[in-house]
């Protein structure tokens, strides 16, 4: 039987990919950020997940304004890194897990989550930066990946409550897959950042850390935070944090914290990272 063994939360700032690709991980600016991922890189070498369900958002790379799926699941065989205007990142193609992905897609739809199915797309920094943060430099990524793209660009994005419930449904779907697989679920994006307008550069460490506390708690209070609170307190792009709730919802009510890291700044953004396991 497949099982979800851990959840990982992480920012996915594009500049982290640049720092990694240009060998700047240990310089004065990026050193304190990457130091907070050293523990996770060692842990992932022990854990050896077979599949990562990677919750992220596309930043006008695979999706433009023509189609705006709220929740979309990648059922393809492989995904190439997207050209985001600077040329594609020189990182390996992402290998999918179509058997499990289609199983989850079908299960979710029967469970009344009306997913969009993706067979072909390129994946942008939202997906490849977390892979670099957790696995470092690789010839091939050490795991297969099921991309799960969430619309957090055009309003309204899904509610935190809906994201949590989707996570619960993903966990049920994984548990009903007959093959023995070690599955992790990652929620990415955030933490506080605003990339637009006169209020750009907003950072709220107190709120971000309270959010991390709520993720660690053995209850589901965090699912009820309304969109307006993310926007007011953490900046317009802080809304990405609803994606972490899909990860958290998939772990069940009780969790234990394995690792936690927070750093300001990376470009315009607060970096947050947490590793949780079902308890």
């Amino acid at each position: 039987m497949a099982r979800i063994t851990a959840g990982v939360g992480s920012s996915h700032v594009p500049l982290l990919g640049v720092a990694h690709d240009q060998g700047k991980e240990r310089d004065d600016y990026f050193g304190p950020i990457f130091a907070g991922y050293d523990w996770t890189r060692e842990w992932e070498k022990q854990e050896k997940p077979d599949v990562v369900i990677l919750v992220y958002n596309d930043h006008a790379s695979a999706f433009d304004m023509k189609f705006i799926p709220t929740f979309a699941i990648g059922c393809g065989e492989r995904y190439a890194p997207a050209d985001e205007g600077w040329g594609p990142r020189k990182v390996p193609d992402v290998i999918g897990h179509p058997d499990l992905a289609w199983h989850i897609a079908q299960s979710l739809i029967l469970d009344e989550f009306d997913m969009t199915i993706i067979n072909e797309m390129d994946v942008d920094h939202g997906l490849t930066v977390p892979l670099s943060m957790m696995f470092g430099t690789c010839e091939q990524w050490p795991t297969t990946v099921i991309p799960l793209a969430v619309n957090v660009v055009t309003y309204p994005p899904p509610s935190g409550n809906r994201c949590w419930a989707l996570g619960e449904a993903i966990a049920r779907a994984v548990e009903s897959f007959p093959q023995d697989l070690n599955v992790q679920i990652w929620g990415t994006g955030g933490m506080s950042h605003q990339l637009q307008g006169a209020r750009a550069g907003l950072i709220n460490p107190e709120w971000d850390n309270r959010f991390l506390d709520l993720l660690e708690a053995n209850d589901d209070a965090v699912r009820h935070i309304p969109h307006i609170e993310y926007l007011r307190e953490t900046g317009s792009e802080g809304i990405e944090m609803v994606m972490w709730l899909i990860m958290r919802g998939a772990l069940g009510q009780r969790v234990k914290t394995l690792h936690r890291h927070y750093h300001v700044p990376c470009s315009n953004t607060a970096i947050g990272h947490i590793v949780l396991a079902p308890d």
Binding site: A60, Y155, L195, Q196, G197, A198, A200, N204, R232, E233
Partner: protein
């Protein structure tokens, strides 16, 4: 689940200072502007745009006002006309400038001042959460 009133939900966004939330209204208004920006994902389009920006813009169903704002790289004006930051970022990368530098042009700070603010911990949320409540 509790029912959310769409009108109240949208009205609250207008109470956040210095922020344009990318609502359906803005998405409709800025559709062609954003699709123009998206076209710059392709290297051949970037080259054509750089060769003659005005001629490239004239291929799109964009208002004259928006075309001028693109030519001037006036990002606040483009946000007002329904531009979305992730789409407009294709213009940053076409220009070869860092995301944060382009973002700084939307504030009242120079790029070095903005960068220093971020190094010092970013902009505090104090006083910029709500216009109505002044907090």
């Amino acid at each position: 689940m509790t029912h959310t009133d769409i009108h109240a939900y949208l009205a609250e966004f207008e109470d956040i200072p210095g922020t344009r939330v990318f609502t359906a209204k803005r998405a409709r208004q800025g559709y062609h502007l954003n699709q123009f920006a998206m076209s710059l994902m392709k290297p051949e389009n970037r080259e054509r745009f750089k060769a003659d920006e005005r001629a490239y813009l004239d291929e799109w169903a964009i208002s004259e006002e928006a075309k001028l704002a693109v030519l001037a790289r006036d990002y606040n004006a483009l946000l007002d006309m329904g531009g979305n930051i992730y789409f407009l970022s294709k213009l940053f990368s076409t220009d070869g400038i860092a995301f944060a530098e382009a973002v700084s042009t939307m504030t009242d700070m120079s790029w070095p001042e903005y960068r220093q603010m971020m190094l010092d911990g970013g902009r505090s949320p104090e006083g910029v959460r709500s216009i109505r409540e002044g907090r």
